[in-house]
Structure formats: C-alpha cells, structure tokens
C-alpha cells in the first residue's frame, strides 16, 4: 500500500512541469502561426492607425516574454481571454461546448468500451473458433470504414429516408423543460454515438481485449494455476482477466485523453455543438483566444486522464508501482 501511495504522489507531482510546458508551447504555437491577430481583431476594413491602436490596446506590441507572463498571470486568475467572434469571455464559450462534447464522447465511449471489451473477452474464450472469427472480421470491417462516411450513411438512411432520428443538431426547438429537453438531446445523440461506437470504440476495445486475453492465456502462470487444479472458470475470471484488463485500461486512457478533440469529424457531420466544431470554426475565423483556450482545456484534460489511467494501472498491476 505504501508503494501505491508513494507512486500516486510522485506521479501527480510530475504534472506541474508538464502543464507548464504545455502552456508555453500553446502560447508559442499561436504566436508563430500565420496571420496578424491585430488585423483580425480590428476588422478587415480597419485603417492602419486603427490596427495599431488595437495592437497597443491588446498589448500585442509588447515583447514576447511580457506577453507570456501576462498570459500566464491571466490564466491563474481564470481569465482565458475574450472572443471577439462570440463577444464573450473565452471561458464562457468553452464552458458551453465542453459539456456537449463530453456528453457525446463519454456516453459513446463508456458504452462502446464495455460492449467491445465484453465481446473481445468472449471472442478470446472462443479463440480460433467460428464465433471468434466472425467477431474479429466484423469488428475489423467496421473499424476500416471512415467515420464521416458511415455517419453520412446513417443520416441518409435513418434520418432522411426513414425519418426515425433527427439528422443534425443537439436539441429540438420545441423541447422545453428539463425532461423534454433531456429526451430531445438523447434523441439527437443516437446517430452520432452509434457512429462512434460502431466505427471506433467497439472495434478498438474488442481487438485489444481479445488480443490481451489470448496473450495472457498463454502465459506460464496460467498453466501453473491450471496445473494446480484451479477450476477452469476461475483460471479465466480470476487469473487471466485480472492481468488482461491492464492493457484495456491503458487503451481506455489513451482514447479518453482524445475525448475533447478527437471527434471533430463526427461533430462536423452531425453539426454537434461541441469542442470539435468550435475549434474547426475558430481556426477558419482566426479566433486565437478561443483556439488557445481550447488547446489549454484539451491539454489539461489529457494530462488528468493520463494521471487517472496510470493510477488505475498501478492499482491493478503491482509491477508498475516501482517503475
């Protein structure tokens, strides 16, 4: 237990420098990207003098390191800047979008991860037989379909032709009140999350879970417990699964870390008002404050998810606690 606590502490302390580096990188990337933010801020028709005033007003004429320190100082106060495009503080814009994306991605991922892992374990228990073959081939086929193409196909069939589901958006206009609104959001979420689950999460977790179980079942320690007369059911459930689940958790961490920024295509196809569409538009409109804020949130998310995944791995596998 001592080992585990110590590991978590050490692992959490490593976050500080990582976040700092991410912040500086974030700042630099935006600074070196093409286009003059002062020009964008002042507007296309602004005169030279107006552009210069804007530059001074926003401190864009000051030396880089000063800009960096004031950027970091603002962050510490929770000020992520102001979006001219939305006429709102960046933090407000993000806080509207982040939950939408998380709702879509986390729902799809948790469902897809569970279904995929269960199917993968099942396939592994039927290793080499017809069931295993069918599951593996099917999942690989779905995985090789481009997400946006499959999404469009679903829209075409189930939204436009059959009219079972809405073809885009987040919530119906008429949906007022808590319950009706929730139902409407769920309704809008069906097609995008089915797309994500079938083309991404189920195949990914099916394959990793299957491969991991198959590998573990060949380990010497499995032969040991089998040769010691442990019932086959327990060999599988207690000894094999406990070991096999470690790579699945790590894979879950990896995909979870992409949650905020990894579904741009799906959000675009279904006009889902999340982080993906926000960033896509921010790039086109050179909305730098929003872009920087989005990067920042995404980076902090990645770092936190990895921390949680590492802690889970350490709980499951005593060997990593000392790594």
């Amino acid at each position: 237990m001592h080992g585990l606590h110590w590991y978590i502490l050490r692992r959490a302390a490593q976050l500080v420098p990582v976040v700092l580096v991410v912040l500086v990188l974030n700042f630099v990337i935006v600074k070196v990207s093409p286009g003059d933010p002062a020009l964008t801020l002042a507007g296309y028709w602004a005169t030279k003098e107006q552009v210069e005033t804007t530059r001074q007003r926003w401190g864009l004429d000051r030396p880089l390191h000063e800009q960096l320190t004031s950027y970091l100082g603002n962050l510490l106060r929770g000020d992520l800047g102001f979006s001219n495009h939305f006429h709102r503080p960046v933090l407000d814009v993000l806080m509207m979008r982040v939950p939408n994306t998380l709702l879509l991605v986390l729902t799809s991922m948790l469902l897809g991860m569970t279904v995929g892992t269960v199917l993968g374990v099942f396939a592994a228990s039927r290793y080499g037989r017809t069931t295993d073959l069918v599951l593996s081939v099917t999942s690989l086929s779905f995985y090789s379909i481009p997400v946006f193409w499959f999404g469009l196909l679903l829209v075409l069939v189930f939204a436009l032709n059959l009219k079972w589901f809405p073809f885009a958006g987040f919530v119906g206009i008429g949906a007022q009140g808590g319950l009706a609104r929730a139902a409407s959001v769920a309704w809008h979420m069906v097609l995008p999350s089915v797309t994500l689950m079938l083309c991404l999460y189920i195949p990914v977790f099916l394959r990793i879970a299957r491969a991991s179980v198959v590998e573990v079942m060949h380990e010497d320690y499995i032969t040991t417990v089998r040769a010691a007369g442990i019932p086959e059911r327990l060999v599988f459930l207690r000894h094999a699964l406990r070991n096999a689940i470690v790579p699945v958790v790590q894979m879950a961490g990896l995909w979870m870390s992409h949650a905020l920024t990894g579904v741009v295509l799906t959000e675009t196809v279904f006009s889902w008002p999340g982080m993906g569409t926000l960033m896509y538009n921010a790039i086109i409109q050179r909305d730098y404050p929003v872009l920087m804020g989005a990067f920042l949130i995404a980076a902090v998310w990645v770092v936190l998810v990895f921390l949680i995944a590492d802690i889970l791995t350490a709980v499951l596998d005593p060997r990593v606690r000392y790594a």
């Binding site: 040991t224 040769a227 007369g229 442990i230 207690r238 000894h239 596998d317 005593p318 060997r319």
Partner: protein
C-alpha cells in the same frame, strides 16, 4: 503395482497442416518414492511428456494415443473435473523457467492459499498458517508470503514454486529443469532440498534435465529421449556403466567431466530430427556413427538386455559387440 505406468503415450502439436510428433509411444513405469530422470537434448519432447501427464498441453497439443495410469486410475480417461482434482493433489509439476510461473498481480502467499483452499476445506487462517510453514520448509522467510513475484529473486521464486508443489503433498512431482537457470551452489541446494522432501513425504519424482551429472546424482532410473522417443531406459548404474544406445553413449562422452575438459571423441554432428516429418527408421540414424542401411529403413523396437533387470534400448545392435565396443571406447577416453 507401480505408482505411475505410462504406455505408448503419443503427443502431437498441430502446426497449420503439419503435425509435430513431439512424443512418440513413450513408455515407462515409476514406483513410489523413486526418482526417474528424463534426459535428452533440447526439443526432444521432455516437457511435452510432463504436460501430457498433467493434461495441460497448449491448445494445439493433442494426446493421440496411449495410457497413463496413476495409482491404478487411467488419467487420460478421466473427465475434466476428476482430472482437476488429481492435479496438484496427487500429481504436481514444477515448470521449466520459474521466472514467469507465478501470477504477477497476486501476492505469492495469496496464490498458494487459493490453491490450498480449492482442494481442501480449510479456513483462511489455517491456509495462511500452512503456507507460511511450507515457506519456511523450503527456506523462505514467512514474510515472503506478502511479496509479489517481481519483488523476489529468481531463486526465491523457484522456492515459492516448490513450496506450491510440496503444499499439496502429492504422490508424484514432475520437476522440469529445476536447476538450469541457477549457479552451481544454488543448483546443489535445490537438488538436496528436493531429495529431502522426497524422502520425508515418500513421493516419487520425475526429474527432467539435459544435465547428465544432475541425473547421476539424484535418480534411480533414467529414460533417455531422442526425437520424441525414449531410446534407452534403465537404472542409473545400467545407463552410466553399460550404455547400450549410441545416442546415450554420445551424451555421456560429451558431457564435461568435473575434473577435466570435455572429451570430443563422440561429439554429435548434425541436428536433431525434424519432428514434423519423423524418419521412418531410427530417428538417430542420420547422426549415428554405427548406422547401417537397415537403420534408415526400419524403426528399432526396444530390445531388453540380458543380465540387466530393467534395461532396454531402441537400437538394432544393442545386443551386439559394436555397441558395447563403442561404449568402452568412449569410457576409455573419459578415464
């Protein structure tokens, strides 16, 4: 009645369309309290025989024929549940390469307790006490029961694996290369300990090794394997004093004696046979200094040898002078 009687045990591994004939009509018997050495070069099928006795072959392994009687019951005819109850309780195996033999996510003590409680209706506390006691008997401190395998040295893990086997007080332990990975001092300790336990519990032991000196020190009987078959069988005295198979002779003469350099009189040229297409004749023929035409065409049957009680050899010429002459020549070079 012997404790273990193996007759014509034949094991294949499926390898795509091919079949690896890893054990071919293997027969031997073993009495209570006795030690049998199973010896032969790498890949000749020693581990396969051990796996087959316990019926824990990898999933592409098939027992294609034969009988295994342990204390009268036919192991190959038992259903899965009955076989499960035989494992560990009556027949236990210490696997080759104890490095990875323990579940890495479980504390070693917990694993052993689980095994014990699977077979016996004992309380948690009693199981714990017995595991700790067994640890002490194999020379591990009690506190080691709380360790994970990766926190132990190779030798300690080997001891833990041994504790696991002894804990069940089986009638028969199969120890697969228990000493190979360790230095000479540890090797001796391991062997001495195995023999001690064997005496105390009166259990029979199958010692798998490719090291003739280990076999000479510890065994009552020896079975020499080559290319999936037992080519010679006899008591330690018979095998070491009067080997009657050219392969045994070659092995004895090429193993380095403790007091001098290895004699290369009968160094083995060539490679072991391809077990996916075993030769029709004697498997050793391509490498045998005495091979004749007949050897390539006809597989030798076991020939019993006069004067020796249990001794037999699968060589056409086992009873003829040229084999005993080869043996004398090799022994001459040795001394």
């Amino acid at each position: 009645m012997p404790l273990l009687e193996v007759r014509d045990l034949t094991v294949h591994y499926r390898l795509g369309p091919a079949r690896v004939h890893a054990a071919d009509r293997v027969s031997f018997t073993l009495d209570r309290g006795q030690t049998l050495g199973l010896v032969g070069e790498s890949g000749c099928g020693k581990t396969t025989v051990g796996y087959a006795l316990l019926r824990v072959l990898p999933e592409n392994g098939v027992i294609a024929g034969g009988q295994v009687h342990l204390d009268g019951s036919d192991l190959l005819a038992l259903d899965a549940e009955a076989m499960r109850r035989v494992r560990w309780r009556r027949l236990s195996m210490i696997f080759q390469g104890a490095m990875n033999a323990l579940n890495p996510v479980l504390r070693v003590g917990d694993l052993l307790e689980e095994i014990l409680q699977t077979h016996e209706p004992v309380s948690r506390e009693e199981a714990r006490a017995r595991v700790a006691e067994q640890f002490e008997q194999v020379g591990l401190p009690r506190a080691r029961t709380h360790s994970y395998p990766h926190e132990m040295s190779g030798g300690q893990r080997q001891r833990a694996v041994k504790a696991k086997s002894h804990l069940g007080r089986p009638d028969l332990i199969i120890a697969d290369e228990p000493t190979t990975a360790f230095d000479v001092i540890l090797q001796d300790q391991i062997l001495v300990q195995l023999q001690e336990i064997q005496k105390r519990l009166g259990l029979a032991l199958i010692l798998i090794s490719h090291d003739m000196s280990v076999i000479a020190e510890t065994c009552d009987h020896v079975a020499v394997m080559y290319g999936g078959r037992i080519v010679e069988y006899g008591t330690v005295d018979e095998i070491f004093a009067r080997p009657r198979h050219p392969y045994t002779i070659a092995m004895l003469s090429s193993f380095p004696s403790l007091y001098g350099p290895a004699r290369e009189l009968l160094a083995l040229p060539g490679v072991p046979p391809d077990l996916t297409a075993p030769p029709v004749g004697c498997a050793f023929a391509p490498r045998c200094p005495l091979a004749e035409e007949r050897c390539h065409a006809e597989a030798p049957a076991p020939l019993t040898l006069d004067g020796d009680e249990t001794h037999w050899s699968r060589c056409h010429f086992a009873r003829e002078v040229k084999v005993s002459a080869l043996a004398r020549e090799a022994a001459g070079a040795e001394s």
